[in-house]
């Protein structure tokens, strides 16, 4: 497993911007203690950041909300930046996102403000070796665990060791970022209280354009559209998963995301696929999203293909394409 070798000094935070947290794929096996899963909101962008560096799939990266982030390299290292488009510079010179970048000690990497979308991912070869809680480096702010908070100026982010890439930088193929430009249509798997919703309300759910509300964070995004006329009443609290869409009495859905509570008592017509949760999480307040019914097997196939692509493709010599093993 990569990231377990010698640790290099990595990066020092100069300006974390509005909010930046360390995230990996989240915690496992701790939900029954009332602990949230945590983890990257946008699986696709985070995976590409790591893939560009041949990192472990679960390597920790920095999730930057809206940009405005600056770091200094403390040692020679290789990084990658993916997600929402922003102007990125190294020592003031523009560089491209979605590719691997070599930094020398003292280099300053600056990520400007995100345009059109919300989340930017910064990965480092070997992954960030920050403190772990419950087997994961993911930071879940709302639980108030000691030291488990957003990045602060002067924080030092050590990196695990990884085989240094010589010469040609890696460049993500267009499909790596093109999906983000598509209209956000979110696949919804029927489930939970689906059959208790009125047919007209279920139809409304997939024909309404919802605006992403200002009240949106890692716990969930509130959506505003034509409200459901007659959602079912509250239920006996049951286990909930990130992606679940809950509908309180006002008929406006709330899409739960990675830091959501472990149990909840609002009725839910379905669950957004894990990859489409990332597409939703990338939307800025006011952006319009739609739901589209899908089924669990299609969602699982899509996810399996995505994970296989990560594990079973290798970079070509020129670093510009990937091919299956």
């Amino acid at each position: 497993m990569k990231g377990l070798g010698a640790i290099s000094p990595g990066l020092r935070v100069i300006d974390p911007g509005i909010k930046a947290t360390i995230q990996d794929l989240g915690r496992k096996g701790i939900r029954h203690h009332g602990l949230a899963r945590g983890g990257v909101l946008d699986l696709r962008s985070a995976a590409w950041a790591n893939k560009l560096l041949d990192n472990d799939r679960n390597a920790a990266c920095v999730e930057i909300v809206l940009g405005g982030f600056r770091v200094e390299a403390l040692s020679a290292c290789e990084v990658s930046i993916t997600g929402a488009r922003a102007d990125v510079t190294v020592n003031g010179k523009p560089v491209e996102m979605w590719q691997s970048l070599q930094l020398q000690p003292g280099d300053q990497l600056a990520i400007g403000h995100a345009r059109h979308h919300r989340l930017i991912y910064l990965a480092i070869r070997g992954g960030f070796e920050t403190k772990a809680w419950f087997g994961s480096r993911s930071v879940v702010e709302r639980e108030g665990l000691e030291g488990c908070g957003p990045l602060q100026p002067e924080d030092e982010l050590a990196a695990g060791s990884g085989e240094a890439q010589k010469g040609i930088p890696r460049l993500a193929p267009p499909q790596a970022w093109q999906w983000l430009e598509r209209p956000p249509v979110l696949g919804l798997i029927p489930g939970y209280q689906y059959s208790q919703f009125q047919p007209a309300d279920l139809l409304r759910l997939v024909t309404t354009e919802y605006a992403v509300s200002d009240e949106s964070d890692r716990m969930g995004y509130r959506l505003a559209g034509t409200p459901m006329a007659d959602p079912p009443p509250g239920i006996v609290s049951e286990g909930i998963v990130p992606g679940a869409v809950q509908v309180p009495g006002d008929g406006q859905p709330i899409a739960l995301l990675t830091d959501c509570q472990t149990i909840g008592g609002y009725p839910k017509p379905g669950v957004i696929t894990s990859l489409d949760c990332g597409l939703l999480a990338q939307q800025l307040p006011g952006a319009r999203v739609r739901f589209e019914w899908t089924d669990v097997l299609s969602a699982q196939n899509q996810r399996r293909l995505f994970e296989r692509h990560y594990h079973q493709t290798v970079w070509s010599e020129d670093g510009r394409s990937l091919h299956w093993r």
Binding site: K28, G29, I30, R31, H32, H33, G34, L35, W133, F134, E143, G144, L145, E146, I189, G191, Y192, V236, S237, E238, G239, I240, V241, G243, A244, Q261, T262, I263, G264, G270, V271, I272, T273, S274, V296, L297, A299, Q300, R303, R304, E307, R308
Partner: protein, 227 residues
Amino acid sequence: MMEAAGEDALLIRFGDTIDSALPAKIAAVRQRIEALELPWVIDLVPSYTTLLVLYDPVAINVFEAKEQLRPAVAEATSAKDKSANVPESRLIELPVYYSQETGPDLAWVAEQNGLSVQQVIDRHTADAYQVYAIGFAPGFGFMGQVDPSIACPRKDTPRTKVPAGSVGIANRQTAVYPKASPGGWQLIGRCPTVLFDEANLSLLKAGDRVRFVSISREEYLAQGGEL
């Protein structure tokens, strides 16, 4: 009844209403599934009437997952040999200093229900409660059912900060806030016991039973309680 809850979870439903017989039954199913040591199972989250099974959808698809879980559910819920299926539930005693200084709603709860403060304390400590679910916050155990005579609604406006250890009632449920947090339950006392820490995680588990024991101010302070 077992249904997909998204691409990486199955929800097993045991009933629709709160029933004190369910936590033991759900715990039995949880233990059976744990005993199978299925590598694709990531977590088991019990609640009042359900058990949520989180799994790795890359390792197994929904149909195979259901197929492999079905025998464990059937065995644990079958009518015959019921006693052998129900695991011995733990009884945990939690000390509580019931007072106005640690439970600002204690007098209100008494007044609302036409009881004396002492009667509220006596009734809250009379029965052992079922732990139905852990949620809301790490280590927060939803327990019930309290005697109807001490039930009370949540506060209209939740407090922005409920001190750690606070013991609350909401309708017929009771709970201890493991850490300081916002909260809307009516507070009747405070418990000095640590309910969640990073090393040991949640003291309470769904399926446990809890009995509250009334302690004095001195005992509360001696056991590490804070005022």
